[in-house]
Symmetry: C2
Subunit: 118 residues, 2 copies
């Protein structure tokens, strides 16, 4: 079940069985969110503050992107002190959709190489 | 380059090199469009009239979904007489993003099986 709470410091997340492919694909259908996930994979297992990502968008837009990633089940967000940390839910995604995340990441790398992007 | 035209019977498509991962993921982030692509894969190599799909949406919504699939480069649409036919652009997608379409289709099947859907 969803972790519903009235405590603003505890953020709602879909449980593994509530994660939907459509939501995951939507979350990853944006260049900025793809970049976030790519950066997280490169530092896998780590917890990332939103501010750790160098993104070409405003802070409020960054917050929006992380919210989409959280609500779709792609990342887990938790507070440590006043800092919101992000963790890729690779275990959940791989259990539900084996190979999907890797193929999307490979496609991202292929496209970046093709278009001459970093 | 995009096949731009003023002839309303010839529909605009992105060329292979114009297809973007973000657009493909967006096109596939909808349950109806995923179902369309899944049905096309089951009858691969064939041309499908929009009316060949049994979808839980109106005709105008169906037209919209096929337009999203066409503009993202997932399907090719052409007129044969007064019928609009749809062909999955698997060659283009596989060339750009090897394994991506298969992994998304596998994820769709996994989710349907898990949720007890057809």
């Amino acid at each position: 079940m969803t972790t519903a709470t009235t405590n603003p410091r505890v953020l709602a997340h879909p449980a593994r069985e509530e994660i939907r492919l459509e939501g995951v694909l939507h979350a990853l259908s944006d260049a900025v969110r793809l970049q976030i996930v790519r950066d997280m994979v490169r530092g896998e297992g780590q917890e990332f503050a939103c501010s750790a990502f160098v993104l070409p968008v405003t802070k409020s837009t960054t917050t929006h992107h992380f919210r989409v990633l959280r609500e779709s089940g792609v990342v887990r967000q938790l507070y440590r002190g006043t800092t919101k940390l992000n963790i890729l839910r690779r275990d959940d995604l791989d259990a539900l959709f084996p190979g999907l995340l890797d193929s999307i990441l490979a496609a991202t790398e292929a496209q970046s190489a093709r278009l001459g992007e970093p």
